[in-house]
């Protein structure tokens, strides 16, 4: 007998993330960190430039994560997804902190 649904990993789709911060607020173990900045976008015909948030860094600390999936559930833009991969032990404590690129790569491996 083996576990049929391995508690996998959470993938980030960076392009879908709007930095709404809902996942950060809802995470019970405080394992998500987001850095962002604002940019003004000028559009032709608009009365004034729009201000948009731009994602700089999205980190999930899997050392703290309880894999409850609340972040996946609450994301209004489906920027977080479950992936089945479970093989990512780390030799260092900081190796459990997955940054934007690593989180984005989880779907492909």
């Amino acid at each position: 007998m083996t576990s049929r649904e391995p508690r996998g990993v959470i993938q980030l789709i960076p392009d879908a993330c709007t930095v709404c911060m809902i996942c950060v607020q809802e995470c019970p173990s405080w394992c998500i960190a987001i850095d962002s900045h604002h940019e003004e976008v000028s559009e032709e015909g608009a009365r004034r430039p729009r201000t948009v948030s731009v994602l700089d860094r999205f980190t999930i600390d899997f050392g703290l994560c309880m894999y409850c999936g609340i972040c996946v559930d609450v994301c209004p833009f489906d920027a977080l997804e479950w992936q089945p991969q479970h093989d990512y032990p780390a030799a260092t404590r900081s190796g459990l902190e997955h940054d934007t690129d690593r989180l984005a790569s989880h779907g492909s491996s």
Binding site: S3, R7, C65, T92
Partner: protein, 150 residues
């Protein structure tokens, strides 16, 4: 004393006949159940049990000793520190320490609790961290093989 009840249990890793990995499992909290799940799944075999198959060549380390890994499974609270120290003091000494699960790795969801040690690496150097709350048995097998260099 509570910690005297928490002795380690010894297993062999059944995944790879080329690697002789001895697992000393120290179950401190609920992640211990997942170590048992690895036994049920056949990933770990009790150390005194019959081998399921003969090694196709000599194990990496001396037979009998093997590569000994202490698997700390569960929350390390202040009263349980002596249990960890007792496990570390066993002879022969362990070759590596594996933090199994969020609590043993970092304190997990209890990182803010005053009686919780935020990771067993505050007591002893950890060679492998396995994330998860709890991790699945397969993650334990993968981490042990990774430690043994496979």
């Amino acid at each position: 004393m509570l910690h005297s009840l928490l002795a380690t249990r010894e297993f062999r890793l059944a995944a790879d006949p080329l690697v002789e990995v001895r697992v000393l499992a120290l179950g401190l909290a609920c992640c211990a159940v997942e170590v048992d799940a690895a036994v049920v799944a056949g990933i770990l075999v009790p150390a005194d049990g019959e081998p399921d198959r003969e090694p196709v060549r000599e194990p990496v380390r001396e037979p009998g000793g093997g590569f000994r890994v202490l698997v700390v499974a569960g929350t390390v609270t202040t009263p349980l520190v002596p249990a960890v120290e007792a496990a570390l003091g066993q002879r022969p000494l362990v070759d590596a320490v594996l933090a199994f699960g969020a609590c043993a790795s970092t304190g997990g969801p209890y990182w803010d609790a005053p009686t919780v040690i935020n990771g067993v690496d505050r007591i002893v150097a950890v060679q492998q961290y396995v994330p998860g709350c709890p991790p699945c048995p397969e993650a334990l097998r993968d981490a042990l093989l990774s430690l043994a260099g496979r």
